[in-house]
């Protein structure tokens, strides 16, 4: 098993919201990728965005801006 790292996890209510986020991330060079929601997170639609922990601030600001449908943001060792 690879070593665990601290990550920022963005969850979405629907898979369509997850796809919208991935599309936005691609357009704005946001690091990260879609992964299955880790079992430690009980929310989410099954797919979440996993980014390096350094991105937590930027992702938090994105959620606060409320232009993308983000359900919640978590910090997890995965």
């Amino acid at each position: 098993m690879r070593e665990k790292t601290l990550c920022t996890i963005v969850t979405f209510l629907t898979p369509t919201d997850a796809m919208a986020f991935e599309c936005f991330a691609g357009q704005h060079d946001l690091p990260g990728r879609l992964i299955p929601v880790p079992s430690a997170v009980s929310a989410g639609c099954g797919i979440c965005w996993c980014a390096p922990h350094e991105e937590a601030g930027a992702l938090g600001a994105l959620k606060a801006a409320n232009t993308l449908a983000i359900e919640a943001i978590y910090t997890l060792l995965i």
Binding site: L13, T14, P15, T16, D17, M19, C45, G46, I47
Partner: protein, 377 residues
């Protein structure tokens, strides 16, 4: 064969549509179900197609819902908004995919139903939309273009009426999506139903609804959505709320390529060519002896020309066109019973010629010559 039955389905597709479906069939997983690349590749293509349709119809991407065809979309729309005690206003131009769901609701669910009537020329007076409204009218449901005559409604006019009375406006755009601008906001459309395999030039098996913001549709089909697994109820968020079951992502991939083709070629260029071919045909046959054409040719119209020759059964003419001239047309009732009744063609039916981007002037001239021969022989 010269194919002039494009109002039923367009047979000739842009090559990119075929390539896209083939590529999807070789590598695509189930959309919105997992985070591995094979599933995500499907999710991405589905999401992209939603975005392209949202741009075409001026709505939010998550409010584009995929279905199997317009019939399913119309069933979802009509059953999802009308409740017992509601009244609905529709028209004599409608296809059975609008009429039968409404007749069933009228029969089984105490939904009141009125029709803006067509006269013997097939015309509908806009004043009748207002005349038949009731205090409990919940929705106006109408086609953009008649699939029998090609005549079109001015959607902005009906949408305006619906808005001022706070009534939902549901449009069947089966014959016009892809060739006519359909800006939901501009026309005041609350729910637009489309099918992918006609003027949108995509494969069969994909259609959908575009839903305006603030409009809610109760799901009539519930099941797996790839999310909220332990919830006993259907998720409320769009589009998943109305998309239970695995999507036809292979078909959606084809539709997505067709949308690119329409975008790159230009909707206006496509429409003008199709209308020019239909008009060329109409001008070539309208004055022939015994030929009766149906509809109003003085206004903007969908590229459809329906006709009869004398009192000969439309099926006989259509069979002769196929057998002797290699021309494919559609005779009979075209799933448009009320308009045939208004036109007086219930028994005879009508022979429908419908044109696509891929038809040519030579094909159109061959159809004119065939009708000339049959009308004068």
């Amino acid at each position: 064969m010269i194919y002039l039955d494009n109002a039923a389905t367009t047979v000739k597709k842009p090559p990119a549509v075929i390539e896209s479906v083939t590529a999807a069939l070789t590598c695509m997983g189930s959309a919105n179900r997992a985070a591995h690349d094979i599933s995500l590749s499907a999710s991405r293509i589905v999401y992209e197609a939603r975005g392209k349709l949202a741009a075409m119809f001026s709505c939010d991407a998550e409010r584009v819902v995929f279905t199997a065809n317009a019939t399913e979309a119309l069933n979802i729309a009509v059953h999802g908004v009308l409740k017992p005690g509601d009244h609905a206003l529709t028209t004599d131009w409608e296809h059975n995919s609008v009429l039968r769901p409404l007749y069933r609701l009228e029969r089984d669910s105490q939904v009141g139903l009125s029709f803006a009537p067509a006269d013997s020329a097939g015309s509908i007076d806009y004043a009748d939309f207002e005349r038949f409204l009731q205090p409990d009218t919940r929705a106006i449901i109408c086609t953009h273009a008649s699939n029998l005559t090609g005549d079109m409604f001015d959607l902005g006019r009906i949408g305006e009426l619906a808005k001022t009375r706070d009534i939902l406006f549901i449009v069947d755009a089966s014959q016009t999506a892809g060739i006519f601008p359909l800006d939901m906001k501009r026309f005041g459309i609350d729910i637009l139903c489309f099918t992918g395999h006609k003027s949108l030039l995509g494969p069969q098996g994909v259609g959908g609804l575009a839903i305006g913001s603030g409009v809610d549709i109760a799901p009539w089909k519930v099941g797996g959505t790839g999310m909220d697994t332990f919830n006993h109820d259907q998720p409320q968020a769009y589009p998943e709320r109305l998309e239970a079951g695995t999507l036809n992502a292979h078909g959606i991939a084809g539709l997505s390529a067709a949308l690119d083709f329409i975008h790159d070629t230009g909707m206006q260029a496509i429409r003008m060519k199709e209308q020019a071919l239909a008009d060329r045909f109409y001008q070539g046959i309208k004055d022939l002896p015994q030929v009766t054409c149906y509809g109003d040719f003085s206004r903007e119209r969908a590229p459809i020309v329906s006709l009869n020759i004398g009192t000969t059964d439309s099926g006989t003419i259509s069979a002769e066109l196929a057998d002797a001239f290699g021309i494919a047309t559609r005779p009979g009732g075209h799933c448009a019973p009320r308009l045939h009744e208004a036109l007086g063609t219930k028994q005879q039916g009508a022979v429908r010629f419908s044109f696509s981007w891929f038809n040519t002037a030579d094909e159109t001239d061959a159809a004119i010559e065939a009708i000339r021969y049959l009308a004068t022989e």
